[in-house]
Amino acid sequence: MTKLRFSRKQLCIPYALFLILFVVFPMLMILFYAFTGEGADGGLTFTFANFADFFTSRAKLSTLLMSITIAIISTAICLIIAYPLAYILARSNLKRKNVLLMIFIMPMWINFVLRITALRELLDLVGLLGTENYLNTIIGMVYDFLPFMLLPLYTTLEKLDKSYLEAAADLGGNKFTVFTRVTFPLSMPGVISGITMVFMPSMTNYVVSDTLSNFNITILGKLIDEYFTTYDNWHMGSMISIILLVIIFLTLLATGGFKEDKSNARGANLW
């Protein structure tokens, strides 16, 4: 009986299969649908019409603008809440700070739809539901994605080499200077990782906007869904997906997410 032996390359096969079936193939499908349309005879023809339609439609551009606005505000609020929290947690000498961290992460263990439905009732109790649609949506997004901001920030700040801070202090920097000149710049990988983790889903997670704004707010994810299910136009749906993809790509580019920085290896890219 011969021993089963796998070379490294063979071990890649499951992943390669996965990649082809669930990443490459769907991407090609989306590309195909985005740049085709139904011709006069009912057959498919190559066209840029979907692209042109998107950027000439008032409704779609408003939706795009609104999604970006909601995503930016949610991300900013997440950052403002999560950074001090992560900083305090990372710097504290608490013995069981992991437990503390767990408490903030714990909501993620509960089913997402359930949490949002509960939040809806809560907002109704406070009297916001039905009137403050935008506020509710942003509250929902922040509530939902805060852990995604918190974790990478915490990991970077935790792994931060304390000797840098000591050196900065030794050289005469006060606490504020040490923070602005050393700690914050060094935690940038975590900040960027957190921003991308929150910004992207905030533009598309329409369960939140639908439930908490009573379907009053349309965001890009919802629009894509509408095109695939109710409007029955896969071409436009695919085109919107591509546009979203480009936006996310640009955000990554702008925030330097693609930079092969050694500091990224410090566990910031937890996700």
Binding site: R58, T63, L65, I68, T230
Partner: protein, 504 residues
């Protein structure tokens, strides 16, 4: 390269094997038995509900009555999903249950098998389907291809303690600050478009009703067909002018709305989040049932509210879902299933479970309705226990000729007139002014969808522009300072020297 190719072929072989294994498993389960593949809406057939045996398992019952037949039952959420699935997997189903306009579309596109003459003449459906429904199908020439399953109207469910019925006697009732953030409409293009059209042409419709005396008209009236045709024509207008008017009407309405919904409306009515809900009659029954005060098994009084249902005076939408057989279906077996579902006892089971109104009449259904709604004291039909006269609720238009009764009338109290029964079985006067929504061609559908997209996506609040402007300004400032800093920091080499690059 060779290695790479080998890896790829390995992967391909694995994929092929995987697919084979799957299809083999698929075959095994259906080997030796005849399979009926039914594709229906979610929760749209009587099924056992956990431990209680309150509901009949109709699928199991059918399989029991027809040894050797297995029912493969799957469900869909929207007509469009169903349609897409049929386009991809054309031969995958024997029986599907789309809504009115989708049935028309499928008939138009020659996607469905006709019923056999034998079925049309002798089945339970032929025997027990309501004469009103059959006439409706006959007029529209659907009889050959579709068998009605459930049907109903659209109207407003409202809380009479907070909302006056008079305001809702017109569709325009919710277009006012009086009910600010108290009402919801459907997050569904077709239904909300209907509402918009009814609002835009409310005066024309009211004038038409007055002209024909629609208030007292019955289905046997000679002017009925003419009147209903005119209402249907108005309600199916899709010209540019109408679209523009409907769009601004709905955008106008949006500022007074609590929101849109497709599913949560019932629950929000019950919990009191909203007081008016533009609803399908079946959902209206559900909401009214659940909101009512009742006594639980321990004898405790559970408080609640009695909700009402009203179909505004101008017109309504009569909708239905029906069975059709896609091309290539097992016609014989599919017809057998419709025949089975059209047996009044099974229709009762379905109505019990789904809460919607079956298109099937017959004495068993009627008797169940008496059980549910008739408030007469025993032995004295038409009078309650205190001897007070009740109001007769005439259902002859629906049940007439499908059973042995001479007169199908249910006696209810004045208070109950606007409750469940009015949603379960609309009065003849409501039916007279109800229009079926036609199927729009592709171009019209696209135009209506675009209108809806604008209603949903607009307007943008002013602060959003401000936020965007601030962010753009910040990005510009950051970019400029980066460029400026970068320039300043670049060390200038002395004349004759060159800065050597790192790692060079």
């Amino acid at each position: 390269m060779k290695r790479f190719l080998r890896t790829i072929s390995c992967a391909a072989a694995a994929a092929v094997l995987f697919v084979f294994a799957l299809s083999a498993a698929g075959c095994a389960s259906s080997g030796g038995k005849t399979v009926l593949r039914v594709y229906n809406w979610e929760d749209y057939i009587s099924q056992p509900d956990g431990s209680s045996d309150e509901y009949v398992d109709l699928i199991a019952k059918f399989e029991e009555e027809n040894p050797g037949v297995t029912v493969e039952y799957s469900t869909f959420g929207t007509n469009e999903n169903m349609y897409n699935e049929l386009k991809i997997n054309a031969a995958g189903y024997d029986l599907v249950c789309p809504s009115d306009y989708m049935i028309m579309k499928m008939i138009d596109e020659d996607m469905v098998e006709p019923f056999t003459d034998d079925f049309l003449a002798n089945s339970n459906y032929a025997k027990y389907a309501s004469p009103y429904i059959k006439d409706l199908f006959e007029q529209n020439e659907w009889t050959r291809y579709a068998a009605a399953y459930m049907w109903g109207t659209m109207g407003y469910v409202y809380n009479p303690e907070l909302v006056s019925a008079e305001d809702l006697s017109s569709w325009a009732g919710i277009w006012s600050g009086k009910y600010d953030h108290m009402s919801t409409i459907k997050d569904s293009v077709r239904d909300s478009y209907f509402l918009g059209v009814a609002y835009v042409y409310r005066e024309e419709l009211a004038a038409l009703a007055k002209e024909y005396g629609a208030g007292n008209m019955t289905l046997s009236d000679e002017k009925y067909a003419e009147y209903n045709e005119k209402v249907t024509a108005i309600m199916n207008r899709t010209d540019e002018d109408t679209l523009e008017k409907v769009k601004s009407a709905l955008l106008d309405l949006k500022q007074y709305l609590y929101g849109f919904e497709v599913d949560s409306g019932k629950q929000d009515m019950i919990t009191g989040k909203i007081s008016i809900n533009f609803a399908w009659s079946g959902d209206a029954v559900f909401a009214m049932d659940d909101a009512e005060p009742y006594t639980d098994e321990n004898g405790r009084e559970i408080p609640g509210i009695y909700l009402n249902y009203i179909v505004p005076g101008e017109c309504s939408n009569i909708w239905f879902d029906g069975w059709v057989m896609p091309k290539g279906a097992n016609v014989e077996l599919a017809q057998k299933f419709i025949d089975f579902l059209s047996r009044p006892e099974n229709a009762v089971a379905n109505m019990n479970f789904i809460g919607y109104t079956s298109a099937v009449a017959g004495d068993e259904v009627y008797e169940e309705m008496i059980d549910w709604y008739d408030e007469s004291a025993e032995g004295t039909p038409g009078f309650d226990e205190d001897g007070n006269a009740l109001v007769p609720y005439d259902l002859n238009y629906f049940f007439g000729g499908t059973g042995n009764y001479d007169d199908y009338v249910i006696y209810v109290s004045e208070d109950s007139l606007n409750r469940q029964i009015s949603a379960q079985y609309p009065t003849e006067q409501v039916i007279v002014r109800s229009a079926v929504m036609q199927h729009f061609d592709n171009e019209t559908t696209a135009a209506v969808n675009e209108m809806w997209e604008e209603v949903k996506g607009l307007p943008i609040p002013v602060w959003a522009y401000i936020v965007i402007a601030v962010i753009i300004a910040l990005i510009l400032v950051a970019a400029l300072s980066y460029i400026y800093k970068g320039k300043r920091r670049e060390p200038k080499p002395k004349k004759g020297y060159r800065i050597q690059k790192k790692g060079a």
